[in-house]
Subunit: 358 residues, 2 copies
Amino acid sequence: MTRPKNDSFLRALLREPVEYTPVWLMRQAGRYLPEYCETRRRAGNFLNLCKSPNMACEVTLQPLARYELDAAILFSDILTVPDAMGLGLYFAEGEGPKFERPLREEWEIRALAAPDPYDHLRYVMDAVIEIRKALANSVPLIGFSGSPFTLACYMVEGGASEDFRRIKTMLYERPDLLHHILKVTAQSVIGYLNAQIESGAQAVMIFDTWGGTLSHRGYREFSLAYLEQIVAGLHREYDGERIPSIVFTKGGGQWAEDIARIGCDAIGLDWTSSLSEIRRRVGDKVALQGNLDPMALFATPEVIAAEGRRVVDDFHSAGPGGGHVFNLGHGISQFTPPHHVSTLVNTVHEYSRHFHRL
Amino acid sequence: MTRPKNDSFLRALLREPVEYTPVWLMRQAGRYLPEYCETRRRAGNFLNLCKSPNMACEVTLQPLARYELDAAILFSDILTVPDAMGLGLYFAEGEGPKFERPLREEWEIRALAAPDPYDHLRYVMDAVIEIRKALANSVPLIGFSGSPFTLACYMVEGGASEDFRRIKTMLYERPDLLHHILKVTAQSVIGYLNAQIESGAQAVMIFDTWGGTLSHRGYREFSLAYLEQIVAGLHREYDGERIPSIVFTKGGGQWAEDIARIGCDAIGLDWTSSLSEIRRRVGDKVALQGNLDPMALFATPEVIAAEGRRVVDDFHSAGPGGGHVFNLGHGISQFTPPHHVSTLVNTVHEYSRHFHRL
């Protein structure tokens, strides 16, 4: 395996020198792009799109055709793993993801088993292979998964939740049951991400979207402990190349020191944290990814450029070195004007060069 | 004016010695209580309930009849202030609060003026007077308001929002307009809270429910700066008594040092922060209020008691002294079994005594 021609993203994650700050955007292949909406229409629905390696590859590449992005991310859904565990994922129009068979009874929880990623999740591996081929070593491909706690939220609640009442009632009343779900899910995620790496993913990211709804103690026990197991179980190298890992807990800025200790190469941060403050707190243990407010993309090009520069300035104000991957602090909004993204990507690339010459 | 017979809440806020940790719960007068639902039915709708001093007094006292709470909080809505500014508050069934005339045009924003609290908000002052009479100096009465940024969210969005797209677009594109809204709203809140104090409120709390959705920079510029103006403008003493102030930014744990610097007596914290960590970070500048996850109240009485003790232990593990008011980290859920609340209140009272004897 050879490194991609543009390997700035991988180098930044490993805190190696780069010429400019690499950029990619969470949910960069998504509804704000008319070409994505067109492919999705052809697919019939979102799940068909995820399950077709051909169309998943097509939408993965769409943002790279428009913008000078430094990484591609596999187009898929975080809930493919519980779907492969037999919970029956479906999308109710306007209501988001749901499970036909959420975990409600103890016997259902005890019967959970890690899926074989090369069997029930074959379509994801096929997409990874197809995307790698299509990328032709231009930029690296990121594989990803939801975190065990985030997946468990959907598995127990049966869908999105405002208060996470079911899973938190389980957490407080039957922590043994929740730990069982998390243990099996963590094993599943390790198998799933390693299969993505074996199929061609060159970095992996774990999305802990709901870990930030836990208490400071609960986060350590029910989310971070399993993130640590996953990081320890991942292929650190594959085919002679280091495979960096990124852990992103939305709302986890307060816990950055603890996250930086679990062995991941980078931590993702939302816009509530200052990158320089986090660098001061965690030292040079990890690279940082983030963290522009996605809503800044609704401003004028001048303001977008200024806000992008501020994030770069903030990171570098804590001193030389470090490793920074520029990103939003959460997924890009479906209402974002597509041409605003070019302004952001180009500004960060140009503006960051002088910091990397120092 | 004399201090209430049970003044443990006021003393804890001022970091004076207490015999046990005082307890109250955000939204303690609310839908989880059948007697509240009964009064609300009689009122016809939520806004009638808020606008009737008699019924507002009735529901304010209901939780105190059931539980050994150490403070009462005025029953009202955070959106009374923008309603008094002429925006036309109404509640659409199942959709939460809305404004008939949200701020969309520059001329509407330039025309905003602070309302006279004794005129358009007379019903709130009448409720405060009636509640104070009914409390007969048993426990103190807390007055409250929404923070300028939180009120502005509703005023600009027109109701609840998932992504705060309108107000954030204004923030990035026309910060001058947002600052104008915030300036007028901060003046309004100062007048409103001072009128509550003059009517009998013995402490005040400012709810910054949405400040945590801002970036680290945005929070300081668009929320904290106005919280600071308010704290500086409040009656520090009234009728010979110190009137303590509490500032609560949901999701603001990362910014606790900055919040502690604005001159408030206490800061409220949600369950994502450890009280001992916050005490170590902010020192003895302020008292802390919080911070049990409201979802813990869905567990068994044994678990509720254990979780309540953990919050008390956490606070005191940072050393002797300090000032702690026990509370949830957010409003109590409408689905909470009422008898679970007794377990929590009684446990905190009994268990905390030994820490205060030290």
